[in-house]
């Protein structure tokens, strides 16, 4: 049965890029443990012989022809950006470690 430690929740927050507050971590820890317990049940019936289903309706991909359509204008692309410069989106400092 999975139990979430504080460190795990913090780590999940990092992976999901959410700066969780201490209170949130505490609350999530409790809630997720309850939820996890109730859903762990699925493993009971997930036998080796059962194939997984990713999409409920079995289809094969439509492959589109390599023909261009009108793109967004630069103005449209940038219209909702929090910050722009020289036709580009501005990102705060990117650390090499990222």
């Amino acid at each position: 049965m999975p139990t979430f430690t504080r460190e795990e929740i913090e780590h999940l927050g990092d992976l999901a890029r959410i700066a969780l507050t201490d209170d949130e971590i505490t609350r999530l820890q409790g809630e997720l443990n309850v939820i996890a317990e109730s859903i762990a049940k699925v493993q009971e019936v997930a036998g080796e012989d059962v194939p997984p289903t990713a999409n409920p309706v079995p289809l094969e991909a439509y492959l589109r022809p390599d023909v261009a359509e009108r793109p967004l204008t630069q103005e449209e692309a940038l219209a909702a950006a929090p910050a722009t410069e020289s036709g580009m989106f501005v990102a705060p400092r990117i650390l090499g470690e990222e």
Partner: protein, 500 residues
């Protein structure tokens, strides 16, 4: 802090290098992998986007058929097993150049698996590189770092993001660990990536310009004491984008790791970067569970089905592969190993072939492209193909020489004229009035003049000392402004001396 390095020869005698390469090839489709935005190098930033490639809420990917066809062709060229059913998966990680903050790639069901490529080394030896997979994925945008030194990420104040490249189709070709390369590891790595470049060019599925980032490689290297030992910890040097860089990265990593291991140290599993200016790799990020990409099948995309009939149809369209073509051309042209290798390295095969097709002899075509024109390209910092002269022009010059209308000197002047934009060789010739002087009357007059001006030389020639003949020919050529046929001059002078 500078790395401690062991001498290369010592490193490869003490350790056995094992390497792996992940080569990314951008496909030259008209539109992106998952949306109909036109792809063009250069162009205004953020002007080649649809809601899909900008990652707008609600947008959905739809697979480009041509990208799949190109990737199948590449798989066939690499002797891969082509999967009739393949699947796209999401690789989840956050980065400002990723419009969706996940990459759509392939994970456990790639399009191409289990192939190999025979790589020909300079001495003609063939080395087989085993290929694990060649899967399809989409590229990210490009960040420009502002406010730091020379656009580097370190010390930059902020970055500017252009998503035009986001969504460009890539094939990532992943080798199995390459063992048994020994001291030739860097050379094999370089030759392997060149071979891939030649293949994608032959298939016409990528612009394959390293300098534009159409091809880039991640270089993995590890060392072990003896062949057959378990693999050592590897370093991964990301995004190396020159052939020389790939070879140098590998040699550097072998030397660096050897020094560490020899001193009893441990290799960190990390990603590194090749720095051209310092000619060294720099440490980056240590691999950790932050690299948990949480792959899962992309629920927006269903399985891609390539029928065996379609694979067969594509197989029929495959052109001759570069190695086979080289062997054929070498024998057709009668080139030596060295001549052939030089032509290959200078990227001159297509040009020589087209020149021959336009009627020139192979030796003549080679002489121009590998001689005068190579020097010219070097001087102008252009590739041969970028020079403003066509194979047809070169063939025309050769034809004029064969006809006797141009001598070597005039031919060079004609080529210069073509390069200067003065027109076709025939136009240049007629514009400047280039013409070998074969009119005996004018020649004889010039020779008589030369004899009269150099009586002492004439005496020597009469006495059988033929050494100063050049001086006479020289002054004749000068008098005819180089338009005389030197051979004709020589034979007339000989005849005249004999008759004196």
């Amino acid at each position: 802090m500078a790395d401690k390095l062991m001498k290369y020869a010592d490193a490869v005698s003490k350790f056995d290098p094992v390497f792996g390469l992940e080569v990314h090839v951008e496909l030259s489709t008209n539109t992106k992998l998952f949306c109909p935005a036109h792809i063009e190098f250069g162009g205004e930033p953020n002007s080649q986007l649809t809601p899909v490639s900008l990652g707008l809420p609600g947008s959905l990917p739809v697979v480009n058929k041509t990208a799949i066809d190109y990737a199948v062709k590449l798989g066939l060229a690499l002797h891969c097993e082509i999967a009739e059913w393949s699947q796209f998966a999401r690789k989840n990680y956050f980065y400002p150049d990723m419009p969706r903050d996940y990459q759509i790639s392939q994970y456990d069901k790639p399009l191409n698996g289990n192939g190999y490529l025979d790589v020909e080394l300079d001495d003609g030896e063939i080395f087989r590189v085993q290929i694990e997979r060649a899967h399809v994925e989409d590229d990210a945008g490009k960040n420009t770092h502002v406010g730091g030194a020379d656009g580097r990420i370190e010390g930059a104040d902020h970055s500017l993001c252009d998503y035009n490249r986001a969504g460009v189709p890539l094939v990532e070709i992943v080798t199995k660990p390459v063992e048994g390369a020994g001291e030739r590891a860097p050379e094999i790595a370089g030759a392997y990536v060149r071979a891939i470049r030649d293949i994608v060019k032959a298939l016409n599925i990528s612009h394959a310009r390293m300098e534009q980032g159409n091809m880039r490689a991640d270089v993995n290297v590890s060392l072990r004491r003896n062949e057959g030992d378990p693999l050592g910890t590897r370093s991964e040097t990301k995004n190396v984008n020159t052939f020389k860089g790939i070879e140098k990265t590998m040699a550097y990593e072998i030397r660096r790791q050897a020094a560490i291991l020899d001193a009893g140290g441990e290799i960190l599993q990390e990603t590194r970067h090749w720095d051209e200016s310092s000619q060294s790799t720099a440490g980056g990020r240590v691999k950790s569970d932050a690299d948990d990409y949480r792959y899962f099948p992309d629920p927006d995309l269903v399985m891609v089905h390539v029928t065996s009939d379609h694979i067969e149809e594509l197989a029929k369209q495959m052109p001759e592969m570069p190695r086979e073509r080289r062997a054929r051309l070498k024998s057709e042209w009668g080139f030596s190993d060295l001549e052939m290798r030089d032509a290959v390295n200078a990227d001159a095969l297509d040009l020589i072939e087209a020149t021959v097709q336009a009627g020139a002899k192979a030796s003549g075509a080679r002489k121009w492209w590998m001689g005068e024109l190579s020097r010219e390209a070097n001087a102008r910092d252009l590739t041969l193909a970028e020079l403003p002269i066509t194979p047809e022009d070169v063939a025309q010059v050769e034809a004029l020489i064969a006809k006797g209308s141009l001598n070597d000197k005039l031919a060079k002047q004609t080529v210069s004229g073509v390069l200067a934009g003065e027109g076709t060789p025939e136009e240049v010739v007629s514009k400047h009035g280039y013409q070998v002087v074969s009119d005996d009357g004018a020649l004889l007059a010039a020779i008589d003049e030369a004899f009269a001006a150099n009586p002492d030389i004439v005496e020597k020639l009469k006495a059988g000392n033929m050494k100063p003949m050049g001086a006479i020919i020289g002054s004749v050529m000068k008098a005819t402004h180089g338009q005389a046929d030197a051979k004709a001059v020589r034979s007339i002078v000989s005849e005249k001396i004999a008759s004196l």
